[in-house]
Symmetry: C2
Subunit: 437 residues, 2 copies
C-alpha cells in the first residue's frame, strides 16, 4: 500500500501523494503567477513555502530557491531531472504521515494556512514559457484513420510514417492553459470541393474538432548543430501534460497541401494545468504500438516499455444539456490509452534534433492525436463521425458531427491505483461563437 | 539630391543617411548586446548615445530611453511605428551636415569617439527575440518551379495558392544572425526513390540548398481570437531583413508529405544583421506579381504598390577559389527583385491572424523564396539546377548542383540611388562538414 498523507486526499483524486505535479498559479494572496504543486484538493504554494524555509530539510536545494519565485517553471525545469526528482521526493516526504519533516508543515498550522489553497480558490496559468511548440503524429491508428479520410485509403500511411516520427512546427503563441474559452475560428473553406475552378468562401469553421494528445515539456537545451543522441533524450523530458489540439477541419482541408496545417491549428491549443514530472511517470511505462519497420540506429531505444501508460478520456458537455433545471450532462465520447502511440517522446526529441535543431527549456512536443481501434476510442470527431458523415448520438437526444457553440470539451488522463492515482487535472475549453472581422 | 552627412559615407554604402537600420551589437567597449544603427562604415552605439544625452533633442522620447539599454530591439519595436519614425528621423538629423543638432555629436569629438565604431570592430547579434517564426510561400515563380519539380507540372500551383498566402510554422530557435557557420545536416534520405518498399538511409544531406527570402519583424500584438484587419496590418510591421532559409532537399523530399517540411528546414535559418524600418522602405514600394484570382475581402489591400522594391543578389564563394594565392572569388549566382512576390507582408499577417492566432512583438514572417522567371534569377539551387539535374558552372571551372563543404553563401539586397542606398548588410554563412552522431 502506498504511503499516506496527513492531508485528507480523496481516493479518487488524480493528485495523490504518488503524483506531485507542478504548475503556475495565482492565489487570493498573490496575483503574481508563481509555482505550486497539486496535492489532493489543494495547491501547495511553492513561493510561500520557500519563503518560509520550507526547503530547510533539503540542503542541496538551497542554492536554487529562487526558481520558485519565478513566473514560469522554466528555471526549475532547467535544473535537470536529478533536482526535479529530489524536490518531488522531498515534497512527498513533507506531506507523508509520520515523516521526519512533520514540524515543518504538518504540525505548523500557521504555515499550512499560508501555503495550502483549495484548488477552487486558485487560478492556473501556463506552466512554462514556450519557446517553440512542435506537434507530432505518433498516434498510428489516428494517422491511418485520417489518411483514409483525406487521401487514398491504400496510401493512408505515407511510406515515411513507420521510419520517422512525422511532425510539424506549431504555433507557440496560441498555446493556452485549461479553461481558456475558444472563439470559433473563421477562415477560407471550400464550400463546394467538386467545383472547377475551386473557389473558397470566408466563413466560420463548420467542422471544428478536437485532438486528444499528450505533450511533453523539454528541460534540457542542445546547441545548434549538435543532435541529442537517443540514449540522452529521456533526460530532456521535464514532464507531461494533456493537450487538446483544436482543429478546424474545413480550413485544414483547403489549406494544408503542400506545406501542412496552418490557420486550421494555430488559433488555439489547450493544455492541462499541472505538469506530471518524468519521475512520477517512471512506474507507469508500457510497450506502445508495434512498428513494422526496423528503425535506423539513431532512433532505436534500449527499453521496450517506452510509452506512458495512461487512461485517457474526452467528455463533452453541450450547451443544451447545461441548463439550471437539468444540470450539465457531461458525456464521455472517447476512452483510450496513451499506449496507442508508435513513437515515444525521446524518439521525437532525437529526431527533432537530428538535423541540428536546438531545443530550449520550455519547448513543447505534442504526441499527435491518440486513437484506439474502436469508434469509441477515437481522439477526434473527424474519426468518430467518419469525416462528418455519421452523427454521434449524445445522451440527451442531441447529435454531433463537429463542435457547436456552447459545447465544452474536457479531457482527463490518469494512471495508477485508487488512492495513488497520478493524473493531470482537466484540460477543458468552451466554444464561443465566431467574431466578425 | 539627398541630404548629406557630416560623416564620410561611401556612395556605394547600403547604410546611407536614407537608411538608418537598427541592430544589436557588442563592441570592444561592451560585451553585453545592445542596440545600434548602421551609418556608412560605422555602427552608432545607441546605448552609449542614450547614456550621454544623445536624445536630448527628442523630448517626446525621454520616457522611453530604457529601450536602448535592452539586449534586443523588442522593447523599441513595441513602441510602435510613430516612435520608430520619430527616432529614425531624429538620428538622420543628428547625422546630417548643417543640422540644428550639430553640437550633440558632429562637433563633440569626445562623444563621437565613444559612439561610432567601425563595422569591422563590432559583432552583430540577433536583433529581436523571436517568439514564433513563420515562413510563407509568396514567391509565385518559385512555387511554380518547385511544384513542377516535386509534383505533377499540371498541378504545380495548388488550387489554394492564389487565394491565400500559403505558409507554415518554422522553428524560431534555429534562426541565427549572419556569419553563423552552417553545419551540414544529417537525416533520413531516400537513396533509391524507385524502390518498393521505400527504405531510407541515414546520411549527411547531399542536396543542401539555399532559399533567398525577405523577412519582416512584427511590432504589434493582437489578442488570441482577435484577427488583425488588413487595414491595420501594415502598422504591425517593424521592419525587414534578408533571410536564407537553408534547406536540405533530400531530407525534405522524404519527410514533407503530409504535414510539411520539418528537419529539412529547422536546422538553421540565417538573417541579415540590420533591420530596415518600415519607414525607410516607404519610398520604395512597387506593384508585385499579378494574382489572377479575385481575393476575399479580408485580404484586399487598398494600395496597388504593396511590395518592397529591392534588388536582391546571391553570391557563392567556393572553398577551392578561396585560397591565398588567388583570393576568394565571389560569384553572383542569382539576381532578382522582391517584386517577384504575389502576397505582401500585411496580407501574410492578416491571413496569419484570421483564425485568431496571436502575433507577438518579435515574431518573424518569411516571404518564401524569391525567384524571377529566368534561370539566373532563381532564389534556390533546386530551381537553378532543375532539381539537381543540370550543373551550374562557376567561374573558376568548378560546377555545383548543391552546396559543398566550404562554400560560403552571401545574400545582399538594396534599393535607392547611389549615395542614398538603403540595404541590409550581408546575410552570409559558410558550410561546415557534417558531424557524426
Ligand atoms: Ca495534432
Ligand atoms: Ca522557405
Ligand atoms: Mg491547435
Ligand atoms: Mg531553414
Ligand atoms: Ni516560438
Amino acid at each position: 500500500m502506498a504511503a499516506q498523507s496527513w492531508l485528507h486526499i480523496p481516493t479518487d483524486s488524480h493528485f495523490s501523494l504518488s503524483n506531485i505535479p507542478f504548475g503556475i498559479i495565482t492565489t487570493p494572496d498573490s496575483q503574481v503567477p508563481h509555482p505550486a504543486v497539486a496535492i489532493g484538493t489543494y495547491a501547495l504554494d511553492l513561493a510561500v513555502f520557500t519563503e518560509n524555509n520550507g526547503f530547510s530539510g533539503l540542503p542541496e536545494f538551497q542554492a536554487h530557491l529562487s526558481v520558485f519565485s519565478q513566473e514560469t517553471l522554466n528555471a526549475f525545469a532547467a535544473l535537470g531531472q536529478t533536482v526535479h526528482r529530489a524536490v518531488r521526493r522531498y515534497l512527498q516526504s513533507v506531506l507523508t504521515e509520520g515523516s521526519p519533516h512533520a514540524a515543518l508543515l504538518q504540525s505548523n498550522s500557521g504555515l499550512r494556512q499560508k501555503v495550502l489553497f483549495p484548488l477552487g480558490d486558485i487560478h492556473n496559468h501556463l506552466p512554462m514559457q514556450i519557446g517553440d511548440y512542435t506537434d507530432f503524429y505518433a498516434g498510428k491508428h489516428h494517422a491511418v484513420n485520417v489518411g483514409t479520410l483525406f487521401r487514398d485509403p491504400k496510401i493512408a500511411l505515407q511510406p515515411n510514417y513507420t521510419h520517422l516520427p512525422v511532425g510539424y512546427h506549431g504555433r507557440a503563441s496560441s498555446v493556452v492553459v485549461t479553461g481558456t474559452p475558444l472563439v470559433r475560428p473563421s477562415g477560407q473553406i471550400l464550400d463546394n470541393p467538386a467545383a472547377d475552378p475551386k473557389v473558397p468562401i470566408f466563413s466560420p469553421s463548420r467542422r471544428l474538432d478536437i485532438e486528444l494528445e499528450l505533450a511533453a515539456f523539454v528541460c534540457k537545451c542542445n546547441k545548434l548543430g549538435a543532435p541529442v543522441p537517443i540514449t540522452d533524450a529521456h533526460e530532456a523530458i521535464f514532464g507531461i501534460v494533456l493537450m487538446n489540439d483544436w482543429s478546424a477541419r474545413d480550413i485544414q482541408a483547403w489549406e494544408y497541401v503542400p506545406l501542412g496545417p496552418f490557420g486550421s491549428k494555430n488559433f488555439q491549443t489547450t493544455i492541462s494545468p499541472w505538469v506530471i514530472l518524468a519521475d512520477a511517470m517512471a512506474p507507469f511505462m508500457a510497450k506502445g504500438l508495434e512498428n513494422e519497420s526496423s528503425l535506423l540506429p539513431y532512433l532505436q531505444e534500449k527499453k521496450v516499455d517506452n510509452m506512458y501508460d495512461l487512461e485517457l478520456q474526452v467528455n463533452l458537455t453541450s450547451k443544451q444539456s447545461n441548463t439550471k433545471c437539468k444540470g450539465a450532462i457531461q458525456q464521455t465520447i472517447t476512452k483510450t490509452t496513451s499506449r496507442n502511440l508508435v513513437w515515444s517522446f525521446p524518439q521525437m526529441l532525437t529526431h527533432h534534433t537530428v538535423t541540428g535543431c536546438p531545443m530550449h527549456v520550455g519547448d513543447l512536443l505534442g504526441s499527435g492525436t491518440i486513437s484506439g481501434l474502436d469508434a469509441s476510442e477515437r481522439g477526434s470527431l473527424l474519426e468518430q463521425t467518419s469525416g462528418g458523415k455519421v452523427s454521434m448520438k449524445l445522451n440527451g437526444g442531441e447529435e454531433r458531427k463537429f463542435l457547436e457553440d456552447g459545447d465544452t470539451i474536457t479531457m482527463t488522463g490518469w494512471c495508477g491505483e485508487s488512492g495513488a492515482l497520478v493524473g493531470f487535472g482537466d484540460c477543458t475549453g468552451t466554444i464561443l461563437p465566431a467574431v466578425s472581422l
